[in-house]
Symmetry: C2
Subunit: 332 residues, 2 copies
């Protein structure tokens, strides 16, 4: 059995707990949290809950094969992973693309010193979409791999952009749906390998609940001009009641695809690769990906490996519950 410690008990942490139950070769050894009393109320007596600040005092009694870091805020991970990796092999979902190289080297140094494995930046994107980008580019040299999000009519819920809306004064609650621009996907499929700005690929749709007396027009202007999050995109702002928001826009649905189009041979025959994910719950799907890689961490550790790894460094056979013989007979 692979013994897993969950660190952080938000949507992803709860998703990892449920994912462990779906994998017959895994067991939950405990949950570590900054607010253990809150977590205890939620999980009851069946699961052991630890105070993460006290890790030095209890880690010897909690022989986890891997700690899966599900920090509520992704910015926590830059602090958490280096600490927890002193005690356990770790998996995290650090998702700041621009800081990723720096983060890799920071964690690698810590993990090398600690003699432990640390898989960073796992999940959907970065994560399985990164893997598909690299493979598609290798199979179709000269092509680019593009990521699109929110393919269906409702689009996909972006937690980061929803959080950004909620920071605005006068906004009581909000949810943001990302929409892929269909014409842009078609251009990629046609093999044009176009140069896109961010706004060419996606638009953003906001559903906002105002606080009493807030100025809708002013808030709309503030949203549309928010750098990075909304300014580069065609953004629409809809005002709704809290009841509408809770009823029509619940859950965490998301979908997306990696698309790469190139050619083969000297006659330039077309070649197209598309990888699509459609999640009823983005945090639960992310959690299932994180959990699958617990197998890889245990195998890498058993081999005496150490240091930082990304999804690009891990063979598929390390992630599968099947034996080599089963893989050869059933899955090849």
């Amino acid at each position: 059995m692979i013994k897993i410690l969950i660190v952080g008990y938000g949507n992803v942490g709860r998703g990892v707990q449920m994912a462990i139950e779906r994998n017959a070769d895994m067991e939950l050894i405990g949950i570590a949290s900054r607010t253990p009393e809150r977590v205890k109320k939620s999980v009851g007596e069946a699961v052991k809950v630890y105070d993460i600040k006290e890790i030095a005092n209890w880690y010897k009694d909690v022989p986890a094969d891997v700690a899966i870091l599900c920090g509520g805020s992704k910015s926590d991970l830059a602090q958490q992973t280096p600490v927890i990796n002193q005690y356990y092999p770790t998996i995290d979902s650090f998702d700041n693309h621009s800081q990723l190289p720096e983060y890799f080297h920071l964690v690698d140094e810590v993990a090398q010193k600690a003699g432990k494995v640390s898989v960073i930046s796992l999940g959907w994107d970065p994560g399985i979409f990164s893997l598909e980008r690299v493979l598609a580019n290798a199979y179709l040299p000269g092509s680019r791999a593009y990521g699109f999000y929110g393919l269906g009519p409702k689009g996909g819920l972006s937690m980061g952009h929803s959080d950004a809306l909620r920071t605005i004064k006068g906004v009581k609650d909000a949810r943001q749906y990302t929409h892929a621009i269909t014409e842009a996907i078609d251009e990629v499929r046609a093999g044009k390998n176009p140069e896109f700005s961010a706004g060419d690929m996606h638009s953003r749709e906001c559903f906002v609940v105002l606080e009493d007396g807030a100025d809708a027009e002013k808030i709309t202007a503030e949203i549309k001009s928010m750098p990075g999050y909304f300014a580069p995109y065609k953004t629409t702002v809809n005002f709704v009641t809290q009841e509408e928001l809770d009823e029509k826009f619940k859950g965490f649905p998301h979908d997306g695809c990696v698309v790469a189009a190139g050619t083969t041979g000297s006659a330039n025959n077309s070649a197209l690769i598309e990888y699509h994910c459609t999640w009823g719950s983005n945090p639960e799907a992310t959690a299932q990906v994180l959990t699958a890689y617990a197998r890889a961490v245990k195998k890498l550790t058993a081999e005496g490996r150490k240091g930082a790894f990304t999804i690009l460094d891990i063979p598929a056979s390390y992630v599968s519950p099947l034996t080599r013989e089963e893989l050869l007979a059933k899955m090849m």
Copy 2:
């Protein structure tokens, strides 16, 4: 530079030659063939051509990093790989799924003894579709991953089934198009993880040129009752002239997808993964995949690894032309 020896100069061998030209870090060191005179006529003076039967006499003068085996008939590989792997690390596309475990162990023994790497059963399926099946099953425990071929209106050309048609007495030429059954894909997408027989998933469409005086009705009956190839499927047989066949059914187009549907969490939120490939030329696309893994063979060899490998054993970073720093900065 990665020095590549092509063994076998049919459609896939020519595809590998063109793929090498698309990869700046690779060069063609020569072509080995059972019919070197035929190949020399085709490639001219620019490429060195060797007689594969004489390999013991010339291998020392041909320092290839990897030999990519492109045997015209897939059944050749069971004989060829163990011989050539004595001299070079190899890549092959052995595609008999039922004999694959036995083949792996045969090659592994040879490769271990020779101290060389041998990547077997690479290409589209087995190959990149095998990889996607294993990953989807790991991310969505309890789901099955299904493969469908011939998604577009024209379907996809099956070389194996076309060859089978041509073995029938009275058939002058023929091509077979595979069609996925749309309703079956929809059942999988709906998360039903259905039990399918082969005929539930695909139908087969034959375009046949008769020899003078051949009996169309008798040949139709013979095709439809051919075990394995056509008997399990809804099969339609169309008779055409050679001119029609050459004009309307040229090239080697094919497409297909891996589909896996499952759920996440305790509320069973839906989760769907689809991987699609659309090839203008199936043998050229297969060749580009084989060629990309030449990088992995060189890296594994440099690490002192030996024995048989499948695509499931090889991390994506080994297949990419990018450095670790480039991968972290651009592709994660």
